[in-house]
Amino acid sequence: MATNKKIRILIAKPGLDGHDKGAKVVSLALRDAGMEVIYSGLHQTLDQIIQSATQEAVDVIGLSIMSGAHLPICQKLKAMMQEKGLVHTKLTVGGVIPHQDIPKLQEIGVAAVFPGGTSFEDIIKGINSLFD
């Protein structure tokens, strides 16, 4: 039987920051690249993100963070993902992220980092390459 697989990704805005233009345009770009995007809306708690990722059985969680809190948020979320058995789900993050933080994020277990200014093409490639 032919499978009908698509990449499912949760685009989530954790915390209180409301700058969602980036999350929205990236969602549109991923849709146009044939992915299924579950859009969380604003002001998400990490619990809500875990719950959405679980129930939606997504392959990727894509966080959009502009507030500068990417390190503590990713660290905490990664631990929660382990605890809830989301071991195959990849965590990615985009937004206002300084270069020097990228290795730190990778160390935490973030699978891909897309700082502001990353082209749609590179984001799509980056996400696809997680499943090669």
């Binding site: 929205k24 002001h43 502001g116």
Partner: protein
């Protein structure tokens, strides 16, 4: 959004220029263009300071008074913010533009679980009047006005500003505050909304009514085309949507039996300046004229001073690039030039390193100096509206006027701004445009210096990416600890019975149509916390759910 579309031939000669608002620009302009557009000096321009104020709202403009500069300031604890305020004032800034952290903007106290990691991060953390006392200590509140960048809980901060002034011995007649207080624009972009649309608009109405009656020198609302543009609107849409938002607020307040003449003069605007210089200038000139015309013709406003479009025209963050951040210093200077040529009353620039971090003292001062150079060295104070009479600028101004009117008509066709936002029409339109523009930028259809189109990556046109050398503003965990400790101490020492009683009064007002402002002032004086006051609203009003954007 930000730059025009240039269609060129093989030899790099420009064949066609199309501005974001949809206006095509000709290779040159002459008297025939003005004639074709029906330009009449008296009707379309008039002298500076005369209706319809296309040229300026004041006859002397910068001759009589240079613009005021208000860099967005605030981070960490109120004490640290206070130091920064004093530094900015000592360096010549004559008004404050206060930044609040996200928990405060969203009506949560520093010890709320959702505040974790956010306390003091993007602005100062305010939990109670005690924090305002620390933040404004030693600031002459009768001379220095304060813009408060807060929206969903703007009523609370306005009340707290009055309370702190009273605490310091000023009367409410002496103080001048401009809370941003534009909840509808938060729902289009920026996202710091809490309550459903109708309750949000009611709170804006409450604050306007209160200011009209109790705060003679304060401007209760600053309508932000700025953030609407940042979200992907064109310059024409920025103005059109801002005006439609203003109409929604005007409607709410007039329903209370207050005449537009009595309050529209207190509206101010926060508008965006980036991208194509000429389009910006035409936009502001057209906006000034349309605003005056609309108030006069639709709302019967008569007095000149109530017809003024006053505004902070600020350099747009979306114009800046993450690539080659030093270029943003130059961009900022030209945006400021645009603001000056457009007759801005107040201006502020984004710091060049904003794509990376919260402005450091160095970058914030650099923005301030840029503005001073324009005023004191380059000659922008010399004469009013120096571009008036230019065939190009006047034609473009008339064309912008038409574009703005078209966009307004569309919103009205949808049933006005409240409905258009509730249904997500505006959000859909704006986010789709943002997406298309971003695609155009990446494909090279639009050009921004430093941004390499995908097709040129790795070619000799790609300078390669060098990690930018910017100084980072570090987050300090101690801010949260201190705020939380202060909060604990406050809850222990304040008069709990007073607080409970004031909050009860607030709840009663929220449930009826009674104005919440006097109750908020009482709550602030009793040291009720922001989270407690917003909590009353959350419980009575509920929270908004965003419509689809796609």
């Amino acid at each position: 959004m930000g730059v025009a579309k240039y269609i060129k031939n093989e030899k790099d000669a420009i064949k066609e220029v199309i501005y974001q608002s949809g206006i095509k620009v000709k290779p040159s302009y002459g008297p025939e263009d003005l004639e074709k557009a029906g330009f009449k000096y008296e009707k379309d321009l008039g002298a500076p300071g005369e209706y319809p104020f296309t040229r300026s709202i004041h006859p002397q403009s910068y001759r009589s008074r240079a613009w005021t500069t208000r860099q967005y300031t605030g981070f960490g604890t109120p004490e640290e913010t206070n130091e920064r305020f004093k530094l900015m004032i000592a360096n010549g800034q004559n008004g404050l533009n206060v930044a609040f952290d996200l928990p405060t903007q969203m009506g949560y106290d520093s010890d709320h679980p959702l505040a974790e990691g956010e306390v003091g991060r993007v602005g100062m953390a305010i939990d109670s009047l005690r924090d305002f006392e620390a933040a404004f200590k030693g600031i002459p509140l009768d001379r220095i006005g304060s813009g408060l960048t807060i929206n969903a809980v703007a009523t609370i901060m306005m009340a707290m500003y009055q309370a702190v002034a009273e605490k310091f011995g000023y009367s409410k007649n002496q103080i001048s505050t401009t809370p941003q207080n534009d909840i509808l624009k938060e729902m289009i972009g920026r996202g710091a909304w809490i309550f459903p649309v109708d309750h949000g608009v009611r709170l804006v109405g409450d604050s306007i009514e209160y200011a009209v009656k109790e705060l003679p020198k304060s401007n209760p609302v600053s309508i932000c085309g700025y953030h609407i543009r940042e979200s992907g609107a064109t310059p024409a849409q920025e103005i059109a949507y801002a005006f439609e938002i203003a109409k929604a607020y005007i409607e709410n307040v007039t329903q209370r039996g207050i005449k537009p003449e009595d309050f529209v003069g207190r509206f101010s605007f926060n508008l965006n300046v980036y991208g194509n210089l000429w389009e910006q200038i035409a936009k502001f000139r057209a906006a000034r004229k349309l605003w005056a015309k609309m108030l006069k013709e639709e709302y019967g406003v008569k007095e000149n001073k109530n017809l003024f479009l006053r505004g902070l025209f600020g350099g747009g963050g979306s114009g800046l690039t993450k690539e080659q951040p030093e270029n943003n210093i130059m961009r900022g200077a030209y945006y400021a030039l645009g603001a000056a040529l457009s007759g801005a009353q107040t201006t502020a620039l984004c710091s060049f390193d904003e794509a990376y971090t919260i402005p450091t003292p160095r970058s914030a001062l650099l923005s301030l100096r840029t503005l001073e150079i324009l005023m004191d060295e380059v000659g922008l104070r010399d004469t009013v509206d120096p571009l008036a009479g230019s065939y190009f600028i006047e034609t473009l101004t008339l064309e912008m006027e038409q574009k703005i009117l078209e966009e307004m008509k569309e919103v009205e066709k949808w049933g006005g701004m409240v409905k258009s936002i509730s249904n997500g029409f505006i959000q859909r339109k704006v986010s789709r445009q943002a997406y298309e523009f971003e695609k155009g930028l990446q494909s090279g259809e639009y050009r921004k210096v430093g941004v390499v189109p995908v097709s040129e990556k790795g070619t000799d046109k790609d300078p390669g990416s060098e990690p930018a050398a910017v100084e980072l503003h570090e987050y300090n965990e101690a801010w949260a600890e201190k705020s939380i400790a202060n909060l604990k101490e406050l809850r222990r020492t304040r008069n709990g019975k007073d607080v409970a009683e004031c909050l009860k009064g607030l709840e009663k007002a929220a449930k009826t149509s009674e104005n919440v402002m006097p109750h908020l002032v009482k709550c602030c004086h009793a040291y009720a916390t922001v989270g407690e006051m917003a909590g009353v609203f959350r419980q009575v009003f509920g929270e908004w759910k965003e419509p689809d954007f796609y």
